[in-house]
Amino acid sequence: MANTETALKECLSSIDGATAVALVDYTSGMALGTLGGTKDFNLEVAAAGNTDVVRAKLRTMELLGLKEEIEDILITLNSQYHLIRLLKGRGGSGLFLYLVLDGSRANLAMARHQLRRIENDLEV
């Protein structure tokens, strides 16, 4: 079991091409922890903005009558991948991991696999 800080560190160190990561509470839009990011890439802004993404998707599923859960959301930009992984169980509901990957260095399949493993180990 890993705490928030260790999990965020592991995201950046063990996932190829990872440049920034945040653990976000989407009931409030606030980040529980952030790592990486620069002055130009403010993770607090990303946390608030992606909270709206997650909420919009959950609302859409509700309207469509889908009784499923979101595992992850992938957003592909020109040179980056943004991966959102919702946490399940152990008091982790209402949280998501937000991972920024450099498109040229990242292996998407491996990144998703690693992120799933880190999420399973994470104890908030």
Partner: protein
């Protein structure tokens, strides 16, 4: 154009930017309403309470040595009340539902606070608007450094300070 209209435009823009925002109010630090976009609330009362809360908040940041006052967040069972500093003379108070994105509320509230501070600083001219009875801006500009060092909400703070000083001579005797 009067500063009140510009500030009101800013408040209207905030409403489109923050989902689940139910009201907003810009006031001076001494509790006078600058502009409000808050249906179902009494803006004058809210502005006066904001000034009082600001006094306490400023003393808190001061006592805890956390620097200048930036923002104040109060959560009730039905939602949030957030107050952001808008320069040294104005404040912005936002009312939001419980399910609001607090991260976004903070981001937009801080930005808007800075914008209102600019509006107030550039628009308040001598002998115009609600603050015609205040000192001329030449004095304001000259006193600008002292304005920033002067605590926000000094007025409401003074009343509770007195009792803490009174008992001292008695204990000395």
């Amino acid at each position: 154009m009067a500063v009140e209209t510009d500030v009101l435009d800013e408040l209207r823009r905030l409403r489109t930017r923050i989902p689940r925002l139910t009201g907003s109010l810009a006031a001076t630090v001494d509790g006078l309403v600058l502009a409000h976009d808050a249906p179902d609330t009494e803006p004058e009362g809210l502005a006066a309470l904001t000034a009082a809360a600001l006094g306490v908040a400023h003393r808190m940041t001061d006592a805890a040595a956390r620097g200048d006052f930036r923002e104040l967040l109060v959560r009730g069972s039905g939602g949030y009340v957030a107050t952001y500093a808008a320069g040294a003379t104005a404040v912005l108070t936002l009312l939001a539902e419980d399910r609001v994105n607090v991260g976004r509320l903070h981001l937009e509230g801080r930005r808007s606070g800075a914008r209102i501070a600019d509006l107030v600083a550039t628009h308040v001219e001598p002998g115009t608007g609600r603050h015609a009875d205040r000192p001329a801006p030449a004095e304001h500009l000259a006193a600008a450094p002292t304005v920033t060092t002067r605590p926000i909400g000094t007025l409401p703070v003074r009343t509770p300070q007195r009792p803490t000083h009174q008992p001292r001579p008695q204990t000395g005797i």
